[in-house]
Symmetry: C2
Subunit: 227 residues, 2 copies
DNA sequence: ATGGCATGGATTTTCGAAAATCGTTGACAC
DNA sequence: GTGTCAACGATTTTCGAAAATCCATGCCAT
């Protein structure tokens, strides 16, 4: 709901954002075949920028490409969810540890500010409580980004950002079917407190528990299905 | 020297491999502007597949894109080298630990085989000892891949592969100017022994030392330059 | 001399159609 | 009834040129 104008600087960039948005919020579902005709209609442009957008999305793992058979939305699976969770524990855990070790007052300020914004908006919509609000999602991402923003490693930050994006696909599917997680707020607040107290080990443990809790909540949904 | 025919299945795939190869072995140098006219000549194809290849390379960090100003080869810097090294320690270290913990006989066989192939070929060319042989480079990559191939995490493997590719750019630049590393062979053999002995902690420590040694050898070259 | 502005050239970005490829359907032989 | 093969339709992939954009040069006014 945030991209009607040719968003960025180039059409291809706009197509990238639009298609990625459609994948992340479920309008395009896992396994769906992506025909160029449909995507051209969705993005109101020719085939070239759409193809570039799909190339980028494929490199990031949101879509897959079978040569000469076209693109499709990357499937979701229980095994990938577990894999993502394990990698988030490893990478974001280390990034958090580094941030606590090296973060300065600016970092603390960013963290407190991001948490304040996140805590001020409800997770679900008023009319449809089982659908995540767009602004909550943005602020949630910004919060986790702020948490690790002082780690000093652009590459690690990039890895974490990529993992966060992939986890987002699972988060939304789960929430739409099994309801919100009840204690996310408390866990976020606890993370801030531990970080400000410079309790590296405790904060990393809390982060691990946070992700594992999210993953556990999702496992129920995938139970039975999956490949 | 390994791609005259339209390598893969699609032209774009061939362009990707060719341009990436040119970047990794230094024919295209960091900061070089990538004009479509030149690339079309290099790849012998039209603009569309070249553009798709550049989109993929950009998503993987080998090239950068300024909107409407074109693509260029991603620059090399001392800070990025340190960042890559730290991330390799973290990710490949964990992947190695997991492989040692979970690897079976098949993994051991792959590892021994890969090491055997690597040890059988000299690092530098006979005519130009300061240039890495293409086959050594391939086998070196295969060895490190085999080392962590039993970690059970496709995402972690992908991260490691990406990091290895980036580190390769630094490795070649360094070797071409300051000569080979003298003890790489011994370190590789030691890694195999520790892995087969299932000494997780020792193997990870050896891997860290291996990467740090490589990085230290490179720092000398970058000393003075860099941004 | 200096700053702003229009003009030109070089390059990227996009388009719409042609060429190539894959899966499938249907006919035909065994 | 079963298996093989050829032709078709749908779709991707590629092409070559047009449109859009940016950077630099030179001109004019101050």
């Amino acid at each position: 709901m945030a991209a009607d104008r040719p968003t960025g600087k180039t059409l291809a960039g706009g197509a990238y954002e639009r298609i990625r948005g459609a994948i992340q919020d479920g309008r395009l579902r896992p396994g769906d075949r992506l025909r160029f005709a449909d995507l051209q209609a969705l993005c109101a442009m020719s085939v070239t920028p759409v193809r570039e957008a799909l190339a980028r999305l494929t490199a990031e793992g949101f879509t897959v490409l079978d040569d000469h058979r076209g693109f499709s939305v990357a499937p979701l699976s229980l095994s990938e969810l577990r894999d993502i969770t394990a990698n988030r524990k490893l990478c974001e855990g280390e990034a958090l540890r580094l941030s606590i070790e090296k973060g300065d007052g600016q970092w603390e300020a960013r963290l407190v500010a991001a948490h304040h914004l996140l805590a001020r908006v409800p997770q679900g919509r008023d009319d449809m409580p089982s659908v995540i609000r767009d602004d909550w999602d943005e602020r949630h991402a910004a919060f986790h980004q702020a948490l690790i923003s002082a780690c000093g490693s652009p590459i690690l930050l990039d890895t974490c950002l990529r993992l966060f994006g992939h986890a987002g696909r699972y988060r939304r599917v789960s929430v739409s079917l099994s309801g919100m997680r009840r204690d996310a707020e408390a866990e976020h607040r606890q993370l801030v407190e531990l970080a400000l107290a410079r309790d590296g080990a405790g904060a990393v443990a809390a982060l691990h528990a946070h992700y594992q809790g999210t993953a556990d909540a999702l496992e129920a949904f995938f139970d039975g299905r999956d490949a």
